[in-house]
Amino acid sequence: MSEVLDVTPGDTDVPDTNGTEPERGGDTDHEPVSNDGSDGNGEIVMRLWRGDETGGEFTDYLMPSVEGEVVLDVIHRVQATKAPDLACRWNCKAGKCGSCSAEINGRPSLMCMTRMDTLPAGETVTVAPMRTFPILRDLVTDVSYNYEVAKRIPAFSPREKTEDEEEAGGYRMQQIDVERSQEFRKCIECFLCQDVCHVMRDHEENKTAFAGPRFFARSAELEMHPLDVNDRRELLQQEQGLGKCNITKCCTEVCPEHIKITDNAIIPLKERVVDAKYDPVAWLGRKILSRTKRTPAEATEDAPVSGPAAVQPSPGVVGVPLPGYAGDEAAAVTHTSDPPGDEAAAVTDTSDPPGDDTSSD
């Protein structure tokens, strides 16, 4: 057999799948999928939260340690060998889809990008679901809140193309001008910033009027988009709770894409909102001159005829609520017993009173 990945002579760490015995147990070396075979690196205790919205507890799993693994690899080995029904959400396993968010030793992180060898050697590794969202099962939370917020942000609406652009076949924008919004478009929607944000984390009631860092970044991206003509400032202030953010930068700290959410999105948005509110010249200018940005109400007027308005007055209008899932208030019980996210305060700065509307406007 000539499989390229299997022909490294003398390297005992490479699994041997080129034999004629592919059955499990036929391999002497470890396999990433369903073999818990040790490679002599000792053992680790994985303390995983098991339960659902009615309650649960941490369960310890003793696992052989394997060189080079990330937390998600170990979780997969637990599933394959010890707990086939252990719920865990994941897709790409390469830090590109943002599915496997959890709190590892109290820190909101992607399980696929957290190498085991970066955690304290010999110590128990604790993995809990994100605390800010209702639990579905084990490490999986109901993140539908985020999808509802996304629906309420006025959609992208580009300016008309110029004659030159019609001829050239596309808009002209300079690299330097697209880079500002590109930073926010790196977002993989892991919702770790939403999870860590204490405005929601510690105050469930704020969720009704708070978009959260992910969606401030989305609004910033649209506001700074060279082509967009909608104006989302009033909405940000009045319905999305931009003022509630008191710039503790926890969101920036946990962002796996290293987006400077606070410095590059939230603070500039706050400045723009203040400008819109208090600058009399700007106010007069907007009244007299033709504006380049449109208010949410105006944006609603020419929302696509084929679909509901881009601006949704309330969540749950578009889309079908999942049973006990999307938009179901009753299901939004957050860790009623044995809250698994206790240690998660590690990166959460709660020294400032959260939800203080006046703190940083």
């Binding site: 057999m1 499989e3 390229v4 990945l5 022909v7 490294t8 390297d11 490479v14 699994p15 799948t17 592919p22 059955e23 499990r24 036929g26 470890h30 990433p32 999928v33 659902d52 394997v66 060189e67 080079g68 693994e69 599933q79 086939p84 029904d85 719920a87 959400r89 897709n91 790409c92 396993k93 830090g95 889809c97 943002g98 599915s99 579905l136 999986v140 109901d142 993140v143 999808y147 996304a150 629906k151 959609a155 076949g169 596309g170 808009y171 924008m173 300079q174 690299q175 590109q182 290293h258 929302a303 696509p304 679909g307 509901p308 889309g319 079908v320 999942l322 049973p323 006990g324 899932y325």
Partner: protein
């Protein structure tokens, strides 16, 4: 009597990657009641993994480019096995599809003139890939996702579809599936269904694919009576990570080579110069010096051999490793550190920089990456009519990776994202027109529904049976070792026997832990799809007694002209034997050679001009 909720739509799209989203946007824009159903959360589909770019002859960098050149590159890259009409439509329409993304908010990297920048990629004559650093797929899916949200398309997330439903005359009438979070069953009634479920890579051990790529759409179409073609043509991307083991298979974008990265063996030699095939010799540089000049000016030299089509590069890496000139962990070296400045690398390839830094502890601005082939893409898929994306089952359409024909025996990098856009839109139109024209009421077959549901819950009633993870592991090991990048007759025959055994074992799976978000159960319901597509790939590989594109036979190492004019068409010839989960047995799949569509003379001339 099985319990389930029911929904009714005109058009239902299964899969919310690029093709599914584009199809849904199109159907919705035509005023149809449209729903999108996906196995994961919205925006997590495998399209996010696409890195390098979307191929379209925009002519923003090289004015000499045209749809004709793109068409020719695509056909030659596919070793002429492509459906010529799909390749033509793709080359003609992809520029408009890319510009449309910009109208919807996508922010591509720019040229000096402020237009969409294009980069070089393997097999493309000119710099043709519109891109955003090395995260083009994410930009594409986010743009389409946000457009779909703005259009108010209903999205059913984390919903696994088990089976297509058909009415008495075999026309599609809907689907049956279950919510993953609650484990409750759902039935959809629909006038037309679009399959946009992506690929099959999760049947191999080392793959760039996510867990979702289990071939659900391929299998469901097959079970419903549709034809599949070219299932033996599987692309092993030349550059996946090889170390650490746990990240083995994760993709390293071809953009690294497009931007100047070169492949070296353990002796430091740029070995690709030793593997230039006759078909591409005329346009490939024969010295390092000539190849290096080409990066800055395509008229100053011919393209370096590192940018040959993927099948050629993957086979060459395989040969080097086999000859004992590999890297320490069984790959070869991909070196951009000595070729570009650290700043350039971080700017052009930010995801690769972070991926290696964080997962492998390697700084790619200072040292070479270790890379080797990884299962990446299936060229084969559901046979479709090029213009409408209609399958051979009435009311069923297919677009994206699940559809076959567009890429022939080997896909060029960058042609996948454009494929999603061009044929996603066309499938949306095709399905909308079918739904609009459909007369009479759509009827659901209660027997089909309860059979699917009963089979799905059966493992919970069994005790001390098989572990689904073990079966999956063994399936992967079988496909990796016996139906991998290089194949041979005896091993393929052995694979057939093993797949039969695996099917028998899959019937004996037992589960506990309930239906709510139970990954063991989710995997169990994916097994029938994986077994069916694996059998199709193996059967096609046995029949195609030649080497062509993504199908290489050790025992038939050369292309054979007669084989180049046929597709192996796979169907279920239902002989009443039961497979897993109320699906037909994989033993009832047949493969028949059928002639590929003949290219008209005016297009043939393009190839004569080129030689």
């Amino acid at each position: 009597m099985a319990e389930y909720e029911t929904h009714e739509f005109d058009v239902i799209i299964v899969g919310a990657g690029g093709a599914g989203l584009r199809a849904a946007i199109e159907a919705r824009s035509r005023g149809l009641r449209t729903a999108l159903v996906c196995k994961s959360l919205l925006g997590k589909a495998h399209t996010v993994m696409a890195e390098g770019g979307v191929a379209a002859a925009l002519r923003n960098v090289y004015d000499e480019d045209s749809w004709q050149v793109h068409f020719r590159d695509t056909m030659r890259g596919g070793k002429m096995l492509n459906n010529w009409r799909m390749a033509q439509l793709h080359a003609q329409e992809s520029p408009d599809r890319v510009r449309e993304l910009e109208d919807w908010g996508a922010l591509f990297d720019r040229t000096q003139d402020g237009l969409i920048l294009q980069r070089d990629f393997g097999g493309h004559r000119y710099a043709r890939l519109a891109h955003i650093g090395d995260r083009t797929g994410l930009e594409l899916i986010r743009t389409l996702q946000q457009k779909a949200v703005a259009e108010g398309i209903e999205v059913f997330m984390e919903l696994k579809v088990l089976r297509l439903l058909t009415d008495a005359d075999g026309t599609v009438s809907g689907l049956v599936g279950y919510w993953r979070p609650s484990g409750e069953f759902v039935v959809f009634k629909a006038k037309a269904v679009v399959m946009a479920t992506g690929g099959v890579g999760k049947s191999w051990t080392y793959t760039s694919n996510s867990w979702e790529s289990t071939g659900d759409g391929h299998a469901m179409a097959l079970w419903a009576g549709a034809d599949l073609i070219d299932m033996e043509c599987v692309q092993f991307h030349p550059t996946g990570m090889v170390w650490p083991l746990s990240v083995r298979g994760i993709l390293v974008t071809e953009g690294v080579r497009g931007d100047g990265g070169v492949l070296r063996n353990s002796e430091g030699r740029r070995f690709m110069f030793d593997y230039i095939p006759p078909m591409f010799a005329a346009e490939t540089a024969d010295s390092e010096d000539e190849g290096d000049k080409w990066y800055d000016d395509h008229s100053a030299g011919r393209r370096p051999p590192e940018l040959l089509p993927r099948d050629e590069v993957a086979r060459s890496i395989n040969s080097e490793v086999k000859a004992g000139r590999g890297s320490p962990h069984g790959g070869v070296f991909l070196d951009i550190a000595t070729r570009r400045t650290a700043e350039d690398i971080r700017r052009r390839l930010p995801s690769m920089y972070h991926q290696f830094k964080e997962l492998a502890g390697v700084d790619i601005t200072a040292e070479a990456m270790e890379v080797g082939p990884t299962c990446h893409y299936i060229m084969g898929g559901v046979r479709v009519e090029a213009d409408s994306a209609a399958t051979t089952v009435d009311g069923l359409f297919a677009a994206g990776e699940v559809a076959g024909g567009m890429h022939g025996a080997n896909r060029l990098g960058g042609n996948s994202l454009s494929d999603l856009l061009v044929f996603g839109r066309r499938a949306g139109i095709g399905a909308s027109e079918f739904a609009t024209d459909r007369t009479g009421s759509v009827s659901l077959d209660e027997g089909q529904i309860s059979a699917a549901i009963d089979a799905a819950v059966a493992p919970f009633e069994r005790e001390s049976g098989e572990n689904p993870y073990d079966i999956h592991h063994d399936l992967q090991a079988t496909m990796q070792s016996l139906v991998g990048i290089i194949r041979t007759g005896s091993e393929l025959d052995e694979a057939i026997d093993r797949l039969d055994e695996l099917e028998d074992r899959a019937k004996r799976v037992s589960l506990s832990g309930g239906q709510r978000y139970n990954p063991g159960w989710n995997l169990t319901t994916d097994l029938p799809s994986m077994l069916s597509v694996s059998r199709c790939t193996t059967l096609g590989a046995i029949n195609r007694k030649e080497s062509r594109g993504g199908h290489t036979r050790d025992d038939y190492p050369k292309p054979v002209a007669e084989m180049g004019s046929v597709n192996f068409v796979q169907r279920i010839e239902d002989d009443g034997t039961d497979g897993v989960g109320a699906t037909p047995s994989i033993r009832s799949i047949t493969a028949t050679p059928e002639p590929i569509p003949v290219m008209p003379d005016d297009l043939k001339e393009l190839f004569e001009e080129a030689t």
